[in-house]
Symmetry: C2
Subunit: 336 residues, 2 copies
């Protein structure tokens, strides 16, 4: 954190967080950030996806204006994916861009959303419709913060970790498999290692394709069915991580058909998810509404980046043209 203190010389820190994170970590992290923040500039929002809204965006902008934030000041996003996405967009747009530091405190934010510069807020018409590409100047990941996550949030966030293991390949999947018990109890050393390797993978992809024109699509593995599920059952009713876990099973099943992926991967992935405590089946919404949601997402048709599958462990492929009928059939693997 000393680098941050130095970087902050002459700047003020405007910390955007949520009430849970502030309660658990606010004081300690503000201490570490040093006197620059003065402790005065902390905005703690209501936890939850509802906070990624235009009304909270306006609260943040007005807060910065009221406090007289200037171009040389810094927005610190301290929290999970919701805080990171929202505060990132605030930093990207206030005075046409303040410096942004990400301090992710959830599994999902540490392995995924804090890396890569995607910022976003939701409209009523859909998730993440408004946003920008805006890279943070620092991402500070302290796996110790995972200790205070609610169990459900911790576990569901592991869905994204499983995604990175499938993308990364046999080696990392093996590390996860052999250490599932340690992961379950949030062992600091193993989480440090896993998070680091997920982050490196993502950073590598994003460096090659910052603006999402090609390879970055692989990070959407499992997300076509996940988004369709979230839309259909409602964003409040299923966490993003849980939806991704289910989506991974659908993507793996379709990969068998379209890319000849070994059948063993589906069994193995399901087993890992079960051992992590992540549900592998769901009371499936009507297939027609799932298809409508997936089509709207433009990811099962040839348009856009297409569907993302795995040719083998560590070998993702994007741009697949999956037929609605086969997509519907693959959904059966997650039906409760």
């Amino acid at each position: 954190m000393y680098a941050l203190q130095a970087a902050a010389a002459g700047s003020r820190l405007f910390v955007i967080t949520d009430e849970n994170v502030e309660r658990a970590w606010g004081e300690r992290i503000l201490d570490l950030l040093g006197a620059a923040s003065g402790g005065d500039y902390v905005l703690a929002l209501t936890p939850g996806e509802g906070t990624k809204s235009l009304s909270k965006l306006e609260v943040c902008w007005n807060w910065l204006a009221f406090r007289g934030a200037r171009r040389e000041d810094v927005v610190v996003a301290l929290g999970g994916g919701v805080v990171g996405d929202l505060a990132g967009f605030v930093a990207a747009t206030y005075l046409r861009g303040l410096s942004l530091w990400q301090i992710p405190t959830s599994v999902l934010a540490q392995v995924d959303s804090s890396i890569g510069g995607k910022t976003a807020v939701n409209l009523e018409a859909g998730k993440n419709l408004v946003g920008s590409f805006y890279q943070p100047d620092f991402v500070v990941i302290e796996p110790g913060t995972l200790a205070t996550l609610p169990e459900e949030e911790y576990v569901s966030g592991l869905g994204e970790v499983v995604k990175y293991c499938l993308l990364h390949g046999e080696d990392l999947l093996d590390v996860l498999e052999k250490n599932i018990d340690a992961v379950r109890v949030r062992d600091r050393q193993i989480m440090d290692d896993l998070v680091r390797r997920c982050v490196n993978y993502k950073a590598d992809v994003v460096e090659e394709d910052e603006f999402d024109q090609g390879r970055r699509a692989v990070l959407n593995l499992g997300h076509t069915a996940a988004h369709a599920l979230e839309r259909t059952v409602g964003y409040g009713a299923i966490s993003h991580g849980s939806a991704v876990a289910l989506g991974l099973l659908v993507a793996v099943a379709l990969s068998e058909e379209y890319l000849g992926l070994e059948a063993e991967v589906l069994t193995r992935t399901r087993r890992i998810l079960e051992r992590l405590g992540i549900p592998t089946t769901i009371d499936l919404p009507p297939v027609e509404s799932m298809l409508a949601a997936a089509t709207r997402d433009k990811k099962i048709s040839a348009g856009g980046t297409g569907f993302v599958g795995l040719a083998s462990l560590g070998a993702p492929v994007w741009g697949l043209n999956v037929t609605p009928a086969r997509f519907a059939a693959a959904l059966e693997v997650i039906r409760a």
Copy 2:
């Protein structure tokens, strides 16, 4: 416009404009843009600065969402500075960035705000506090559109033209001086020439300093007092162009003192403004409130980019540290 039609192949055009511009030019410009727009995708907002608000921003985002705009679609900003700034920010942020075309229809937008990629909306706490740097893919300037501008808007917009003449130097100022009568009657040929040369000047500055870290500051000539005036008398009560014209006189007066600018420039600038029909004096608000507003802007102190002055015609200087007492004294040149 043929280039635009070709560029639009496969994309839909979402035209954001205001009701006045739509009435005067909507049909003709949609014709020129071709069938791509279908005529269906036109959002005509209430004219005026009040439209650069968060509530109108939300209207635009929801409009795009409702119409199912996609990454390959285009936002066309058809109108003056308000429409250009707002629609530009909408394009910058919807789906993390759609293609943006600027078709400016006011003097101010043609010579200044459509060029350079600054987009913005206002907060209640101040103008342009939210925005981004986002370059348009095309800027199409048709000086013919100036024919339908209300006289007051046309005339006040010339304040920015005078700014560019002072920045550019003796040559361009001379062109303006010799053609004031033609400019007053909106002579197409002379306006075409003037606008082109202002645009080239600005494009040159912006290319060198896109993100406003240095030289771009010169474009703020006259804007310190202008912003203070707008804030103090109220944005509705004075147009931006008129405020800039008054601000230029203040900047020129201070340039005499700090940079030894010839006294003749002040007389000459005042005379040009008068002949253009732009007020050169104002019922000055209390000097204390002007100072407070200017200090808040951070442009008269050493912080930020400092004050912008002229060492001579065509030789702007930025970063001047102007004392409040001298700033206050210089305001006397515009007191009615």
